[in-house]
């Protein structure tokens, strides 16, 4: 499929004007003031990363429940970045190393680990 192109044809001023007007109607935006509108926001308003971006495993189970799981060292071996430590009472996740792949959550028994945006993070401001 060879693409059609009218690259060298002349376009009249009014035709161009009409195309841009159509676009403005469609999007409901003022194209030419776009840069100015956004400049005054900082530093009155601070931007945060969306919590969706950092969804990471969180330990929600109890120490008893963890002790029932015999295979609990699996969490350490499975983690591609060695970001997990399993102690007797809890599963500790190093947020700097975690890439959020979800392998630990998938292979742990239900009710122990959960993907959530509330996991403690050193980067949260």
């Amino acid at each position: 499929m060879i693409l059609s192109r009218n690259f060298y044809t002349k376009i009249s001023f009014w035709k161009a004007w009409w195309a841009r007007r159509q676009l403005r109607k469609l999007t409901g935006e003022k194209l030419f003031k776009a840069f100015k509108l956004h400049r005054t926001v900082w530093p009155d308003k601070l931007y945060f990363y969306s919590p969706r971006l950092k969804r990471k495993p969180l330990f929600i189970g109890s120490p008893e429940k963890l002790s029932h799981w015999q295979d609990r060292k699996l969490c350490e071996t499975i983690c591609p970045t060695h970001a997990i430590k399993v102690t007797a009472s809890a599963i500790i996740i190093d947020d700097r190393g975690c890439i959020g792949c979800g392998l630990c959550v998938e292979f742990a028994p239900a009710g122990l680990l959960e993907m959530s945006a509330d996991s403690p993070s050193i980067y949260r401001s």
Binding site: L3, F7, R55, C79, T81, I99
Partner: protein, 544 residues
């Protein structure tokens, strides 16, 4: 069409072959290093294997029955018959391998890379590519002890010769200026330094330097499990994350002969195409941003809609962690298809209006008609993807080596004429429409059933047991998929253990950056920016 039997009768070079095998549709030949030049001549000129796709070396210490220290693999592609040809060379530490740069210029950087990583000697003087120049060990050898690498000294711009005698006729070089593109520019999204020399207006010379953020990613993968590699590999290009994940799982599935269920195949296609749309929108955004046109925000808005769709499916915006070996992670949620249809129609309608308004502006048309890549350049330097299709070569892995349902789907491959930045823009725009067309066809005929194959629907230890006991071939294997910016894949060699013995990552950005200085001569500065943005060079794809 190349077949081994015909070839066997006609050629006398055959006596030089150590072994031949045909495995999974790819030809493998093992030869001595002395015969390499002759073989490349035959492959390039007689058999029509015009493109050198990838080249990899491996340290064979610890492999049973090995006679030599290293093995080099050249992976060649014939674009007419869609055949793939692997030439293996067994080398010792003291032996010298003849360079193949005279047949494939793309081999320049690849040879430099193998030279510094493994210490293989080639028949031309080579210096380092990714590592510091004064490094004294070879990281990809199996006995290498990795320490912290020394920091390189300060970088300086290349100096021009100075004219001491001003009274004579002036050198034209006096007015030349070196400017730095790349290292911190948001357009390239890359950690490569690109020094460009302008005679005040046009480009005269340029030099590329990569390796600023070298992580030793391939070395890292050798110590990881097959399942862990799947998670790490997706970070190579976040824009095309499903692509790398699916390529890796497809490698294992091909070698172990696992058949994945039809529903999982369909969902994988949907994920691939959605990622393609998002990446194309990003690249077009970069082009318009480079020209300082206010429409660039509209492409980002459209991309956000796509990311929201992906997030509703798998929980992460860019489609990370969506693949599993033998299937996919989750099923499509209830009501997802209705949302997709609404967003699809909206984006299609808006893109037409945006294109019309962009096209009507002289600024856009003038600046994009530059940066020509010829077909010969593309073949020589191993360029694939939209940059190759823009110059008229009709080659797409979805058509030429169709996998999953691609052969049953109705879609077209857009092809350009001139190979300029404007052609790349048109192709990217058209591919967005074609991807929507593919997804709607797949969703209309979405098959029922499970999403993971029943053999592999196990917990982790059982799955690991299953994979370690199944017989995986010990030879090299290449799997490539069509990622938004070109061909991406893996050239792998496995061993008895559940960690890969060697993984070589084939990325589309690597050849593009290598070829950059050859096709930007004569451009002006603002043309250069948009041309650079239209190639879609990404950061971690340059790193190994």
């Amino acid at each position: 069409m190349f077949s081994w039997k015909e070839f066997e009768n006609t050629k006398t070079v055959l006596s030089q072959v150590r072994s031949y095998q045909d495995q999974a549709g790819q030809h493998h030949v093992t030869i001595r290093p002395i015969d390499l030049q002759r073989w490349m001549e035959v492959a390039c000129e007689d058999l029509g294997f015009l493109m050198l796709v990838e080249m990899a070396g491996v340290d064979l210490t610890g492999v049973p029955h090995n006679t030599h220290r290293f093995e080099l693999t050249y992976h060649l592609l014939n674009m007419e018959t869609h055949q793939r040809f692997n030439i293996h060379v067994l080398v010792d530490e003291s032996e010298v391998v003849p360079s193949v740069v005279n047949f494939y210029p793309h081999a320049d950087w690849l040879e430099r890379e193998q030279h510094e990583a493994l210490g293989i000697q080639f028949s031309r003087p080579l210096h380092g590519l990714l590592l510091p120049h004064d490094q004294k060990f070879f990281p990809l050898r199996k006995n290498a002890q990795i320490k912290q690498w020394p920091v390189e000294k300060e970088l300086t711009a290349p100096q021009l010769r100075h004219n001491p005698n001003k009274s004579e006729a002036p050198f034209p070089e006096e007015s030349w200026q070196w400017k730095s593109f790349g290292l911190f520019s948001p357009l390239t999204r890359g950690d490569f330094e690109w020094m460009v020399c302008f005679d005040p207006v046009k480009v005269v010379d340029s030099k590329v330097n990569i390796g600023f953020a070298h992580q030793g990613f391939e070395k890292l993968l050798e110590s990881k499990d097959w399942l862990q590699v799947l998670q790490l590999v997706e970070k190579i290009n976040l824009g095309a994350a499903p692509n790398y994940g699916i390529a890796w799982s497809k490698t294992l599935e091909d070698l172990l002969r696992i058949k994945i269920p039809e529903r999982a195949q369909a969902i994988r296609i949907v994920a691939l195409e959605l990622a393609r749309i998002a990446e194309h929108l990003t690249v077009i955004h970069d082009m318009t941003f480079a020209l300082e046109m206010p429409e660039h925000r509209l492409f980002i808005n459209a991309r956000e809609k796509i990311y929201e769709l992906i997030e509703k499916y798998c929980g992460r915006r860019q489609g990370l962690g969506l693949t599993r070996i033998g299937g996919v992670k989750e099923d499509l949620p209830h009501g997802w298809i209705v949302e997709y249809q609404a967003i699809c129609e909206m984006i299609k309608k808006n893109l037409k209006a945006i294109h019309r308004s962009l096209f009507s502006q002289n600024k856009f048309r003038k600046n994009l008609g530059a940066g020509q890549v010829s077909a010969q350049t593309a073949l020589q330097w191993g360029i694939t993807g939209p940059a190759m299709r823009a110059c008229g070569l009709n080659f797409d892995l979805r058509k030429s080596q169709p996998f999953y349902f691609y052969q049953d789907i109705d879609f077209d491959i857009p092809v350009g004429i001139h190979g300029t930045a404007y052609d790349r823009y048109l192709i990217r725009l058209e591919e967005i429409y074609q991807s929507f067309r593919i997804i709607t066809q797949v969703i209309d005929n979405l098959p029922l059933g499970s999403i993971v194959s029943q053999e592999l629907d196990l917990d982790y230890t059982a799955l690991k047991d299953y994979l370690s006991h199944s017989e995986i071939p010990r030879t090299w294997h290449y799997t490539g998929l069509e990622s938004p910016n070109g061909e991406a894949g893996f050239l792998v060699k496995f061993n008895d253990s559940t960690t890969p013995y060697r993984v070589k990552i084939k990325t589309p950005s690597f050849p593009l950056v290598q070829a950059l200085p050859s096709f930007v001569l004569g451009l002006q500065e603002h043309q250069l920016k948009s041309c650079l943005a239209s190639l879609g060079i990404r950061r971690f794809e340059l790193d190994r």
